[in-house]
């Protein structure tokens, strides 16, 4: 009987003779690695837990509304595509504030950035790759929620074909509005992350910035309804409810950062948004919330690019 036997040979060093795809491959690698990092793919369960939890939290409203539509049967009273981004905006800000710094801070803290920038990759390629990676993740989240919602509404409708016929315009609208929301929630957290190597500092700063902007905008732009009611109880004529800053209140309403993309969303969908801030901003010319949105995305985007242009290793 023959015995199987093998022998191990040292092949020595072999030079690489395969294809080299240069800068484009480098850019793709940064993008793919960014998506994997944001979702904790290829890492321990500790890195995966947070993205999964936040992802579930952001998806929950869409699932709940879809189930409600399927069981209640009446779609009229339920929040629709136009209101969805407002419902998830706070959750989305928390998601972005916590996850976005993961894409930039460790590379600078661990010094990996010095290995990237000595390869066929410019600082601009790197930062655009990271920005696109996080944009891809946020886009996937906002679109997935809207797709769940749309599917739920179609299936819950008495005549799905009719629902599609009369509501198909919702699809391009939520795609455009989703892009607006995702660009906003990608750019600001990444810009903040470019100035610290500590993820926790970046996350706390972004959440703090968005949270503080809500009461500041509220104090300056929303009228005191209780004071108006009190006067009424004393038998005086109720005064029309006016915010403390009068006409300027419409402008101060723009301070609420989490609503900045929602004002653009309200211009994309024809339905009226009844929230206080939205009503005030709706009185301004349409160009104002659009310009404000562009300033708050292009401005931080430029700062992010400039910061990495000047990075020294």
């Amino acid at each position: 009987m023959n015995e199987a036997h093998g022998e191990v040979f040292d092949l020595g060093y072999r030079h690489y003779e395969g294809p080299r795809e240069g800068r484009m491959r480098a850019r793709k690698a940064i993008w793919i690695n960014g998506v994997r990092t944001a979702l904790g793919i290829g890492r321990g369960w500790g890195s995966k837990a947070l993205p999964i939890l936040l992802f579930i939290a952001v998806m929950t409203p869409a699932v709940v509304i879809s189930i409600a539509a399927a069981t209640a049967g009446n779609l009229m009273d339920l929040p629709r595509h136009d209101a969805y981004y407002q419902i998830i905006s706070t959750l989305l800000v928390i998601f972005s504030a916590i996850i976005a710094p993961e894409l930039l801070c460790p590379d600078r803290r661990d010094g990996v950035i010095s290995l990237y920038l000595v390869r066929p990759l410019s600082p601009t390629d790197y930062v655009i790759g990271r920005w696109l990676a996080f944009l891809s993740v946020t886009l996937a989240i906002v679109y997935l929620g809207q797709v769940i919602l749309f599917t739920g509404f179609v299936l819950a409708a008495e005549e799905p074909a009719n629902y599609l016929r009369y509501n198909w315009m919702d699809v391009p609208r939520f795609l455009l509005a989703g892009l607006v929301v995702a660009i906003f929630t990608t750019t600001i957290p990444l810009t903040v992350s470019a100035f610290t190597t500590r993820r926790a500092y970046a996350a706390a700063f972004v959440i703090g910035l968005f949270i503080i902007s809500i009461p500041v905008a509220g104090i300056l732009s929303i009228c005191d309804e209780d004071r108006g009611r009190q006067r009424n109880e004393f038998g005086q004529d109720p005064e029309p409810c006016r915010p403390p800053t009068g006409e300027s209140a419409k402008w101060f309403a723009l301070i609420n950062l989490s609503d900045v993309p929602i004002h653009v969303n309200d211009l994309i969908f024809p339905k009226e948004n009844t929230s206080e801030f939205a009503r005030l901003v709706a009185e301004l010319p349409s160009i104002v919330p659009i310009t404000w949105y562009l300033l708050l995305t292009i401005g931080p985007g430029f700062v992010l690019w400039w910061r990495y242009r000047r990075i020294s290793i």
Partner: protein, 306 residues
């Protein structure tokens, strides 16, 4: 048909770099080709600035720097031919060496399937085959240095720039790293520019050195030129050392004692016969008789006018 001359791997021409009023490099000229070249100099000599210029991380104030005939500051693609191992920490703690190297190969332009193979090959060459699926954070300092070298080699560059590769290693780890660097240069056929302030490291593995001081090239050439024999003769003996010195004096050869060695400044080869006779006469047991060699440290002992 014309035969165009092959460009040098690296070339600095009239290279000058100023940081405001501070002069980092001033009219530096040199070329680097195959083999292992040492870039020597004290702190602040301009070594790091030179490496950054070759990597295209900064641009020159005047003059030019070229990698295979291309200017790295103007074309990031030229960096595909270079590898770089920095002195400082540059590794992520939470990923495995295999995954990190695969990613770095892709960032160097290699497609994913090839990148995985290259990562496995290189980790085997640097001796981390068994540990490649462990997180880098769990590695020892020596293993991390190997990963740093591996990431510089993963895309099979023509030349790697190593910045203090033995930094932070114990004597055993230092020897292993130097052997690996030497193997990379000799067996893998990858040219190396080794920046170091440790003369021993440079002397033991480099073919050629470039010495920078105050932003200028002060010495350049083969290592053997700087380690030639001197006129000083060392005679190591076991006993009868005083008798040996007396026997040498009798023959008009000036000698000094240095522990169990006798040091003689020879003037001619004929003196060797007299030295042999003196050893026989003093009945001492000879262990070694050899001329002293210059060391690279001597370069920095010379006065500026020498």
């Amino acid at each position: 048909m014309y035969n165009l001359p092959m460009p040098h791997l690296l070339e600095a021409k009239e290279l000058t770099k100023h940081y405001g009023a501070t002069i980092a490099l001033e009219s530096v000229d040199f070329q680097i080709n195959d083999g292992i070249t040492g870039l020597l100099g004290p702190n602040g000599a301009g070594k790091s600035t030179t490496i950054k210029l070759f990597l295209g991380l900064i641009g020159p104030t005047s003059g030019s720097v070229e990698v295979l005939g291309e200017r790295p500051y103007e074309s990031v693609e030229s960096r595909s031919h270079l590898g770089y191992m920095p002195e400082h920490d540059c590794l992520p703690a939470s990923v495995t060496a295999a995954e990190f190297l695969t990613h770095m190969a892709q960032v160097s332009g290699i497609p994913p399937a090839h990148a995985r193979t290259r990562a496995a090959d290189i980790l085997r060459h640097v001796g981390l085959d068994e540990e490649r699926y462990r997180s880098i954070g769990e590695y020892s300092t020596g293993m991390k240095q190997r990963v740093k070298l591996a990431q510089a080699l993963v895309h099979d560059p023509l030349l790697v720039l190593l910045d203090e590769p033995t930094s932070g290693l114990d004597p055993g780890g230092r020897e292993e790293m130097l052997a690996l660097v030497k193997r990379t240069g000799r067996e893998f056929g990858i040219s190396i520019l080794l920046s170091s302030h440790l003369m021993g490291d440079v002397e033991s593995i480099c073919d050629r050195i470039i010495v920078l001081e105050g932003g200028r090239v002060t010495e350049e050439g083969d290592v053997s030129l700087f380690t030639q024999e001197t006129q000083t003769l060392y005679i190591d003996v076991d006993d009868h050392i005083e008798e040996l010195v007396a026997a040498l004096s009798k023959r008009r050869i000036a000698a000094t004692m240095d522990g169990l060695s006798v040091v003689v400044e020879t003037e001619s080869e004929e003196q060797y016969d007299s030295i042999r006779d003196a050893i026989v006469e003093s009945d001492t047991r000879l262990r070694r008789l050899a001329p002293r060699r210059h060391g690279l440290t001597d370069i920095f002992r010379r006065t500026p006018n020498e």
